[in-house]
Amino acid sequence: MRKQWLVLGAIAAIAVSACGGGSTGTPKPAVPTAVGDGEGALNLVAWSGYVVGGTGGEHVTGYDWVTPFEQASGCKVTVKVGLDSANMVQLMKTGEYDGVSASGDATLRLIAGGDVSPVNLDLIPNYKDVFAGLKNQSYNTVDGLSYGVPHGRGANVLMYNPAIVTTPPDSWSTVFAADSPYAGKVTAYNYAIYVADAALYLMATKPDLGIKNPYALDEKQLAAAVDLLKQQKALVSKYWGTPQEEIDGFANGDMAIGTAWQYQANTINASGGNVKVEVTKPKEGATGWSDTWMVSSKAKHPNCMYKWMDYIISPKANADVTVYFGEAPVSDAACAEAEKQSAGHCALFHANDEAYFKDVWYWNTPSVTCLDGRTDVKCTDFDAWTKAWTDVTGS
């Protein structure tokens, strides 16, 4: 038995020393200067609905924008659908995937952790046509280096069932105020980034808290957001973590109003059930997201990834995916293609309406260095937000 302890001790010692090198700083990954031939395969991590068709994409009857890519590049695509941003960060850390469609609450973590490489935008011909409002965003451009190409954008809208919510809502107070008439039918996003939505509401209702950016919260502001969220919990019938949960919730009468992605609204209205929903962007503004395709620093198929990044923002492909998912396309050319598939698509999603996105705060990664530029206080990072969210839901 003693020998076994020795063996165990030896293994542990080796393991500890092997893992000890993890904090020696993150090397800057290399940037390619040319895109060579495809390596024959491409393993992606993506949100559900982004990579549909082909050999290994999601299967949806009637939709396929991956096969043309596979035929042109020779790269066979597989996709691992991420459950949420954290799941995607975790998957990318394994080094088994070539690229990811990361939201802003994942991008900065991936960059800081050395899991993704900067992108040489000169190698992506379609990038020049992307709307200016999507370029050089703080969540995917660090120290002047760009880390990916934008996929599309959308706001976290307020979705409601007009049969129950008879007055069209224009404020988030319907889901936050203690005296909301829809108590017991409210829903919210079951994820730490939702703290920003509470902060956004506080920006409008409690301006003396001094919140300038819902992702830059110091301890006091975070505490206020937590109080608001705990108050909201009494109104919530069920949080939603995946689109399916929200779709089920509205279709089965558990939820009547709450934050949502357009995707859920489209799916509910297309499903032919009794429940129909509508969406709106309230007067306080909204949080939102714009996803970035990023290359893994350990990518085994970097050429295929570059080809994919160029392809997915090309007009036809981008129109395909944004019409299907329900988000704004990235360029005028993509908009033109989208109009052919779904008239009014670009207007519906305010694709080139920069004014609409003025009060949309894209998901970003909260960090200790305040994102609003304050240097006199330390802000709370995503770790703190996760603990705050546990506090709200677990108490």
Partner: protein, 266 residues
């Protein structure tokens, strides 16, 4: 056996109610595999066989199913070998640390799946193994060993060692004794344990999530990923129904084999 008539009736009713409790959700699963809408609402909007048609053509389900079967078979075989070895050692020999072994064997299944999953995936990655079917099998085998071990050891307890000694006295060597004497005695307990090990591996999701990696999907993982793609939900129900139907025969056969000996466990 004496039991009041009231008690007998109460027991019959209770058993019926509990069986109904167990099968109502199953009935819902079956019903909604025919759902004509992509979203499941009550009452059901309409019936269709489309999903069954799609399931037979779907590559994803087929791959996931074969991966799950392969993983379960692999895990069961390893568990059979390792579990029997440990059980024989513990039951037929005396040595230091004997008590700890039953404890150690049950640990993987008693600890939360997330702990086992993280521990195993860290172990695999630190020795540089790529996650895939092999790591799934190894992961499953770790917590399946206990089902074989417990069944075999319970049976060995009831089987006297004197048969094995007699066999050795008559000139049979170790392997022959095992083949001719020990194996037949524990065979049905192996079948019962294997059945449970197979079921455990087949339905496992939490540990598998951590040990599967990018390239492979077992059926539970396929189901899990489909719940975040709201476009083919009834397909998941179809998969569940098909698995249920496919497993009726093996489960029935296995219980008949073990019941021949008068007990289903050990």
């Amino acid at each position: 056996m004496q039991l009041g008539r009231g008690t007998r009736i109460a027991l019959r009713l209770a058993s019926g109610a509990i069986l109904a409790f167990i099968y109502i959700p199953i009935a819902i699963i079956v019903l909604y595999s025919f759902n004509s809408s992509r979203v499941a609402t009550w009452p059901i909007s309409g019936l269709t066989l489309d999903w069954y048609r799609q399931a037979f053509a779907d590559v994803g389900i087929r791959n996931a199913l074969s991966a799950s079967v392969a993983a379960a078979i692999g895990a069961t075989i390893i568990a059979l070998v390792l579990g029997t070895l440990i059980a024989l050692a513990v039951q037929r020999y005396r040595f230091f640390g004997r008590e700890t072994i039953s404890f150690l064997v049950i640990l993987p299944i008693a600890l939360p799946g997330i702990v086992t999953g993280i521990a195993l995936s860290t172990a695999f990655r630190s020795i540089g193994t790529e996650l895939g079917l092999l790591t799934i099998i190894v992961g499953h085998a770790t917590f399946c060993i206990v089902t074989i071990y417990n069944n075999v050891i319970a049976r060995l307890r009831r089987t006297s060692a004197s048969f094995e000694e007699a066999s050795a006295d008559l000139g049979a060597d170790t392997f022959r004794t095992f083949r001719r004497i020990t194996m037949p005695a524990i065979r049905t307990s192996l079948v019962a344990g294997a059945l449970l090990a197979f079921a455990l591996s087949f339905d496992e999701i939490i540990v598998t999530n951590f040990t599967a990696g990018a390239s492979i999907q077992t059926l539970p993982i396929w189901i899990f990923s489909n719940y975040s793609r709201p476009n083919q939900l009834p397909l998941v129900n179809v998969a569940a129904v098909l698995v249920l139907l496919l497993s009726i025969i093996p489960v029935y056969l296995a219980t008949r084999i073990t019941h021949g000996e008068g007990a289903t466990r050990g």
